[in-house]
Amino acid sequence: MLSVLKNNYCRMLQRLPAVLIMTVITLVSIILAIYITGTQQVKGHIVYVSQTSPTTVSSKYLSVVTMTKEPPYSSLVKQQYDAFVIDNGNGRYDIKTLKSEDYKKMIEGLLKNPNVPVKLQNTDRGVGENIIGFMMMFLLMSTFMNLFTFADDKEQNQLARIASSPIRFSGYLAAHCIYCLSMFLPEYLMLVIMKLLGFDIGFSLLQYALLYAVIGFFGISLALLLHTLIKKPDNANMLGNSILVLSSVLAGSFYSFSKGNAVLDNVVKVLPQKQLLDFAHYLQNGDAFAHIAPLLYIIVFSAALFAVSCVILTRKYVKKI
């Protein structure tokens, strides 16, 4: 098992540039997540259109610009501003926005009581949730890339040889899993450093280790299954990456969407990424033990994928001779 592990690292060195780029992108996504959480407090950029008086509205939830003339309509479409508030005098306003009714009501509320804390749907996420959400897709994609050693072995029919060597097949697979998980270390180290430097990263390091392990397990199982089912490593990689990008975006890893579509919401709930984000949300709120089900779901889901790929692998490749 150790020799397989060592061999994996040696082969990784040949692909170092790709591995490095992936790691850097993941690290940047963590920083972006922390930065974006900081700017989230502002709920709206509005333009206060008034001929006479400058704005009297000030709120820490709004950034207000006063103009005498309405800016072009396209600035609403470009999301440069979220709403125009047109002053009709006598404390009456006209609000022009492309956003939903709820959003309009929130702005109206803020104009009346500028400092009442607002909660806009469930799009408010803590820093830990954002870090997990932003990082998840890249971590999953990197497990796909890291399993290339296994994919190469399989493509070149080395599996039968490995099975007949003194090393046990389970040991061989375990080495790959350990290798993939160890490739998460730079990201983990980054979090440790940020924690030591005093940044607010949301979760404790132990909680991060758990989340990393779960993400890693899911990624490895999915990658193993696709590599088992699809002959060419390149095709499996491309298919896997597109599946991961689409499902992660749908699960709301970058921003959670309020769709209000019952059928689609149920479809999205099947995705393990969505369950993981839900679990991270409960963990953030401190009631993780009461909501352990999402975590179990991912683990069972991944275990099922892993078992299926092991069965197919032994039938198709190991016992082929």
Binding site: S74, Y81, S100
Partner: protein, 248 residues
């Protein structure tokens, strides 16, 4: 001239026969618009606004990605060798790269006009109403500049892989900054400033102001700018294109 037309016809046929390129330039951009539009439509009072934003921004992204069409058209494995024969024929080297630029420009232009037609007819999206002529007029030099950029990069790097990987990464980063996937305008600070540096952002702004404000003051600068860029790139190709590179 006759030699050029023959080569051009062949290149154009090759492009139309390539299912991956046809799919990438039509189905892919429509799917992207539909998925992103659907995901963000919840936040809008009128879902069409969400689709419209992504229809315009992905149209620009796909126009710039036309550079990948021309790298493929210029240096694909099956095409690179026949180019060697043309070098030895009496037509000279100019038609080799110029016909690739023109044919991939025409191919992308037709594909993207088709995308606009399908999206307007199926989702009733707004591409400028009476001003749609300006949009179509502006698309032409941008598509041409993108195609020329692809061929120019091939002339520099000599291989398709290097040129298209570098271009697709560079264009994706510029598009991301320019607000193709989500707008940075509202974020303020560093991100909004970085966004303003991206040429994709300038194009987005121009297109949106034509469509929503009927403001055509930015048409001329963008048109002239892309014509100048195209001319510079074609001139660069003529300087950098070396027939020796084909002696593989």
């Amino acid at each position: 001239m006759r030699g050029f037309i023959e080569i051009f016809k062949m290149d154009f046929k090759n492009l139309i026969r390539n299912p991956v390129l046809v799919g990438y330039n039509t189905v892919f951009s429509i799917l992207l618009t539909l998925i992103m539009g659907f995901l963000t439509s919840g936040a809008y009072a009128n879902p069409t606004d969400a689709y419209n934003y992504y229809a315009v921004s992905f149209l620009i992204y796909c126009m710039l990605s036309g550079a990948m069409t021309s790298t493929n058209c210029f240096m694909e494995r099956d095409i690179k060798k026949p180019n060697l024969r043309i070098i030895h024929s009496p037509v000279g080297s100019f038609p080799i790269y110029f016909s690739k630029i023109v044919s991939s420009f025409l191919f992308d232009y037709i594909c993207h006009l088709l995308v606009i037609l399908i999206l307007t007819l199926s989702l009733y999206l707004n591409f400028g109403g009476a001003n749609i002529g300006y949009i179509i007029l502006l698309m032409a030099p941008i598509e041409f500049a993108a195609s020329a950029l692809g061929v120019f990069f091939c002339c520099i790097f000599k291989t398709e892989e290097a040129a298209s990987t570098l271009l697709s990464n560079a264009i994706s980063i510029l598009a991301f900054l320019g607000g193709t996937f989500f707008s940075f305008d509202g974020m303020g600070g560093v991100l909004a400033f970085a966004s303003r540096l991206s040429p994709v952002k300038w194009m987005n702004d121009t297109f949106f102001s034509i469509i929503y404000d009927a403001d055509i003051s930015l048409v001329l600068p963008l048109f002239a700018g892309s014509v100048v860029v195209s001319a510079v790139l074609v001139f660069g190709c003529s300087k950098l294109f070396k027939t020796e590179d084909y002696l593989c």
